[in-house]
């Protein structure tokens, strides 16, 4: 299971098409593929943002940020800032 995208070429190639948790539409569900920012990733992993887990955007704060993410089947809600959500890459 690849955790980080290490190769810069890979990142550059996928930059146009890649989707992150930040790009989810309201109510849409995606599956976590990997986490981009190593330091943030450790925190997110501990909070249950594990590759393979489903993530649903359940709401936004009135000013658009932070986001409300519902994780997995267990249905617990995390609040993350948009720039933090942008480090959670989704499977295509």
């Amino acid at each position: 299971m690849a955790l980080f995208r290490r190769s810069p070429q890979q990142v550059a190639a996928s930059a146009a098409t890649r989707r992150t948790a930040k790009d989810l539409r309201l109510g849409e569900t995606g599956t976590i593929c990997c986490l981009e920012d190593p330091e943030m990733a450790l925190k997110l992993l501990e909070m249950g943002c594990v590759p393979g887990v489903k993530v649903r955007l359940s709401g936004r704060a009135p000013l658009g940020d932070p986001l409300m993410l519902v994780l997995g089947d267990q249905e617990y809600t995390l609040s993350v800032r948009a720039n933090e959500a942008a480090t959670i890459l989704l499977k295509e």
Binding site: M1, L3, F4, P38, E39, M40, A41, L42, K43, L44, L45, E46, M47, G48, V50, P51, S58, G59, A61, P62, L63, G64, D65, P66, M68, V70, G72, D73, Q74, E75, Y76, T77, L78, S79, V80, R81, E84
Partner: protein, 733 residues
Amino acid sequence: MLSNPSTAEAVGLHTGPAAGARPMRIALIGNPNSGKTSLFNQLTGLNQKVGNFPGVTVDRKSGFAQLTATQRAEIVDLPGTYSLYPKSLDEKVITDLLYDRTSASYPDFVVVTVDANNLRRSLLLFTQLGDLGLPAVLALNMMDVAERHGVNIDLPALERELGVPIIPMNARKGIGVAALKIVMAQRLDAPPVRCWQPDEKLLPLVRQIRYYFDLHNDYLALHYAQQFRQIGFLSADDKAYLQELTQKYGFDATAQQAAETIARYARINEILLETVTVTRTETREPVSNRIDRVLTHRVGGYLIFLAILFLLFQAIFAWAQYPMDWIDQGISALSATIQENFHGPLIRLLTEGVLAGLGGVLIFIPQIALLFGFLAVLEETGYMARVTFLMDKLMRPFGLSGKSVVPLISGLACAVPAIMGARTIESWKDRMITIFVTPLMSCSARIPVYTVLVALVVPDEAAWGIFNLRGVALMSLYLLGLFSALASAWVLKKVLKARERSYFIMEFPVYQWPRWKNVGLTIYQKVQAFVLQAGRVIVAISVLLWVLASYGPGNRQEEAVSQLMVRQNIGFSSPQAMARYNQEHPEYKEELARRVASARLENSYAGTFGHLIEPAIRPLGYDWKIGIALLTSFAAREVFVGTISTIYSVGQDADMGTLQQKLQAEKDANGQPFFTTARAFSLLVFYVFAMQCMSTLAVTYRETKNWRWPLAQLLYMTGLAYVAAFAVYQVLS
């Protein structure tokens, strides 16, 4: 308390004999929102105290639980955490405690609270603890909710997989607590099952650390390699050794931690696959999410928040007034009774110094109790997490986070509990900025000063047809406080360096009814902490001030009083005539007593100081009399009115009107009214900014455990006050 004895039988446990002379030490550990605090309160009730972890700056809650008729155990409540890789100051306490077997608070075993609805994530922390080789019990909390959600857990199978006793429970209702106590009463062995082992490649490193520190566990040794920089009990030599060792082996802490976490989740998934079946009956989304749709609505969310704020202010300013009046009257009555029956300098020290100071502390108890009760209810229901969510984006440009909102709001009542409330902020930098700027919010102690001075120079007229001019002035002062807090935060954000990154990854607790026992305990603990901590400082300062205001250098006071008496006596033919006059005109006697008090004050140490600092405050438009008031009100702002009353020879019991007339009658050297608009506004602005509150400084020290913070606060705010007051006076005059 509800308990369920059949649960104990279900897990096949028996009451063991009391073991050992020293009470067992048991640490409670678990994710935030896993019900840890509820369980702690169930186990210990009122037998708890808040202290400090030895050598660390974080509060430690501990208490005693009666496990069996003969056996007591010390329960240590550890801060909520998601893993053994600490991110915040709070979490470092846990690792410092668990990695040092020689620590005075090293637990005999740990109780890990786990949310049954969220097993995968909760088990991450649990397996880490298990791999440390700590004897552990798993308290499987919120079983009722899990059952409702169709989560079916095969407990015997899970016990086998994890190798520890599991107690299903509902800590809020007290179900399962009795069974847990029975398990806790026994000496447990370390769990035989390991969930994860360090990779082969790491073993040479791990073995060397084990050998050097004489450790009994590979995983513990690995954590030494991971975290040696932040482990408090390691010496500089130890750290240098570990630094060298990790470099030699090319140890990559981040990659290792990530790999470990992923591997753990893989193993946990395996375990859960065999032990947990989910038969979701409901397809509707959880109630909590539907409530969130209302409470975090684009418009409605802010409106509801404003309504709750309004209720909070109503509680603090209106409802709290009655008990505050009772306390005030009670203290005055007690003081008067003592003064009527006893005399002498010691009695005056007791009544005018100690009791007056104590009254100044005790009077805030209702406000603090109401404020913390209110905040505890909001916290318990889960609403507070949503407030921080709503406000985060608004606060971020100022270097604050959503979590700073609560302290700032509380600061309008009193900065002391507000600063204590900043503890919920994990990021060190965000928390320090919040603590630093909170005293700039206009607290209730500024109200008397504002009222007197605004009424003095602002006419009671309508402005633009609808507003009252005085109301506008008062409101501007509050806004000035708020804007200065935000601006200072913004500046501090630029100045302050922090290694920690600011996160806002936060779990939303599920909405639930507050547990009143938890609310009550919170109120009790906050009030106790306030009275003991702030109380000591205030009483000490008021005793000091009393001495400074009551005694003077040499016999200057006596000389001043006798000179005054000589001047008074000139109009009388004999002392008898004067005595007769005094008897016929009691108001003259009172006036004389006031003048004597005033003369004594001018020649006291405090008065001498006032004259001494006069050159420094003259650019702001102040004279020595205001100087004394400034000095005395550095202990607490509300002292200003009392001091001014004494100095302008107004009795303590005189109402505002009289004080106002006196202030209006006050003339400067040229015979012009002393309190001009420029002087009054300069003074008002000074009181908006200046740090005149010993309790706040004391609590800032207590919360930061570093004298630099309260000192910086004092210098910064006083400097700001001086510059602003100077500018106002020079511009307006």
